[in-house]
């Protein structure tokens, strides 16, 4: 009996060994990617213990003193951190309202436009800014909106007064959504354009026969045709609620608008790379963000799976 089990185990081990040997080149191909994920993602994940410690550079992550939940409690006692959390949610919810529909509207307009040549030229212009970095885009737009920039010069010529667009707390957030649309709406509209292409043309013919006007066709044929794409992209966007567009805000931010513009990412950046950083606290804010992110993503993925029958990742 015992011998038999032993033989079984040995046979299975042999088979496993053979399988592994057979796949040896596959493992070889996996190595660079796996090394990358281990070194740059998994090892840093151990660093989350930092959030429960009072970091001491001399003692390192593991040697530093354990302080329990103290760093997290501090988040909720720090007005700046709370402000950043609130801003993150507010800005992202507003992005859903002011940015998300822009690409859909643009796709519908482009689809209704006549004249293939213009359409192609226009689309070329709309999509271009997507490939530029925020450093470039914000430089170009700040030049345009600066107090001695083109917009203000025109305003003054027309008898108006200069507006300091970039340092006005009331204007900063609308400007955030507008500049994001300026850069990304053309690109974001492509997926809707592509989906519209796949709508059955006979639906339009049937609608015309039924006497539907152009506007009615948009609302009763085109929109329903891209609805599932809209829903999936919307859920995804909700899943990314904690990522408020760090680079854009970082470039456009200045001292005058800090209060309304500071989000979690910029806050972490500021407290980490200032004169006296507290790595333990920074890591705690980071972990707080990561955890909410994780929950939102899992919910988003689950919802999309329910809605479309297949998950986004697997």
């Amino acid at each position: 009996m015992c011998r038999k089990v032993g033989e079984n185990v040995r046979a299975r081990m042999n088979r496993l060994g053979r399988n592994i040997w057979q796949a040896r080149y596959i493992y070889l191909l996996l190595i660079p990617g796996l090394l990358y994920f281990i070194i740059f993602h998994y090892v840093p994940m151990n660093g989350v213990v930092l959030s429960f410690k009072k970091f001491n550079a001399r003692l390192g992550i593991w040697g530093s003193q354990f302080v329990g939940w103290a760093n997290f409690e501090r988040i909720f006692r720090t007005p700046d951190a709370l402000n950043a959390i609130r801003n993150t949610f507010e800005i992202n919810l507003s992005r859903l309202v002011f940015q998300f529909p822009a690409a859909i509207i643009l796709a519908l307009l482009l689809n209704e436009m006549r004249g293939t040549r213009f359409k192609r030229i226009y689309q070329t212009v709309y999509t271009f800014p997507h490939f530029l970095s925020w450093v470039v885009v914000s430089s170009i737009l700040s030049n345009f909106l600066a107090s001695d920039g083109l917009i203000n010069s025109v305003l003054v010529r027309m008898g108006g007064s200069r507006i300091n667009f970039l340092a006005d707390t009331a204007l900063f957030r609308p400007l955030l959504y507008l500049t994001h649309n300026w850069k990304e709406m053309g690109w974001d509209s492509i997926i809707y354009m592509a989906t519209i292409t796949s709508i059955d043309p006979t639906l339009y013919e049937a609608a015309t026969v039924d006497g539907a006007g152009r506007l009615q066709q948009v609302f009763h044929v085109t929109l329903p045709g891209i609805l599932s794409t809209i829903v999936i992209l919307f859920i995804l966007q909700v899943g990314r609620i904690m990522n408020a567009g760090f680079e854009q805000i970082f470039y456009m931010q200045n001292a005058a608008v800090k209060k309304v513009s500071d989000v979690l990412d910029t806050y972490i950046y500021t407290i980490t790379f200032k004169a006296t950083p507290n790595y333990g606290f920074s890591a705690a804010v980071g972990l707080f963000k990561s955890v909410i992110n994780l929950v939102m993503l899992v919910i988003a993925n689950f919802t999309v799976k329910k809605a479309s029958g297949s998950g986004l990742f697997v």
């Binding site: 191909l29 993602h41 226009y122 490939f131 450093v135 030049n143 492509i190 339009y204």
Partner: protein, 297 residues
């Protein structure tokens, strides 16, 4: 897209009112996107004097290349170019190879550990250690202030691996079996049979990865602090932020042609040029890139 263009034929006859409105709206939008670029070009080619007299002009009143000359003579931008070209080429090559190899491996039939490795990769899409632990890891590896940190870190993404894996899964299994019978091993199959079949997908991802490297800024700012190693985007950011330091360009030599705003816009232009050159190719792969990349996390 051709289908939608042909399909509303029945609608071609009527409704010029809507057409005018749509045309006007879209033309306005085109102008709104185009003008800031154009304005930047004009300023970069303008002299200080002409700009001071009239900041709103549709063309450079006194055409000059002095802004560009001044910028290039300072050397920073050249160093930035050199570093970014290195980062982009090395980074794109290395991460494309790693991602292709990994996605091919994940597309193969079952072998011990496949599921574990895959889930391991997947998890990185949902959770990350965060900025500080990652920064400390670079510190431990002695990679602070090296361009290699950017090369190795910023190109690979689990999401791209999944898309590429789906691409590999679509090649017919018979091809592979035939090659196996001829005695080819997995490595040969990957390099000789599978890779050549994925041309379009590889082109798409190579272009988008390269643009990503070219535009990478965040980790470069965090990790690179010596001027000789700064990539272009960091240099540009420094030039744009350095307005105070640049102001004395115009005040220094009275009436000099170069001026701060002109130099800044010249820097923006020089950073943009390679992307503009790449744009026609990018455009060719737009729809593919969007369809596979739109849900990128």
């Amino acid at each position: 897209m051709t289908k939608t263009m042909k399909q509303p034929k029945s609608r071609l006859k009527q409704a010029t009112g809507w057409d005018m409105l749509i045309f006007i709206l879209l033309t306005l939008l085109t102008l709104i996107i185009f003008l800031p670029f154009y304005n930047a070009v004009v300023i970069s080619l303008e002299t200080n004097r002409a700009y001071a007299l009239n900041p709103v002009s549709l063309y450079p009143v006194e055409f000059t290349l002095r802004n560009y000359e001044h910028l290039i003579s300072k050397g920073q931008i050249g160093i930035g170019y050199k570093n970014t070209v290195f980062i982009t080429f090395m980074g794109t090559a290395l991460s494309m190879f790693s991602m292709l190899a990994m996605s091919y491996a994940f597309s193969r039939r079952h072998y011990p550990g496949k599921k574990l490795f895959f889930v391991m990769m997947l998890f990185t899409m949902f959770f990350s250690g965060g900025m500080i632990p990652t920064y400390l890891q670079f510190k431990n590896l002695g990679m602070i202030n090296t361009t290699w940190a950017i090369v190795l870190y910023s190109g690979i993404s689990a999401y791209n691996v999944i898309i590429l894996k789906n691409g590999f899964e679509q090649t017919p299994a018979e091809l592979e079996e035939a090659a196996k019978i001829d005695g080819a091993n997995d490595l040969v199959i990957f390099l000789r049979i599978e890779l050549p079949l994925q041309g379009a997908l590889i082109a798409t991802f190579t272009l988008f990865t390269a643009v990503g490297y070219w535009n990478e800024w965040f980790w470069s700012t965090l990790l690179i602090n010596s001027g000789s190693k700064m990539p272009l985007q960091v240099v540009l950011k420094a030039i744009v932020a350095e307005s105070a330091a640049l102001e004395d360009v115009s005040t220094g030599e009275a009436g000099a042609d170069a001026f701060a705003q002109g130099i800044k816009m010249a820097a923006v232009m020089l950073t943009m040029v390679p992307i503009m050159c790449l744009y026609p190719f990018l455009q060719k792969y737009f729809v593919k890139g969007v369809l596979v990349g739109s849900v990128k996390m």
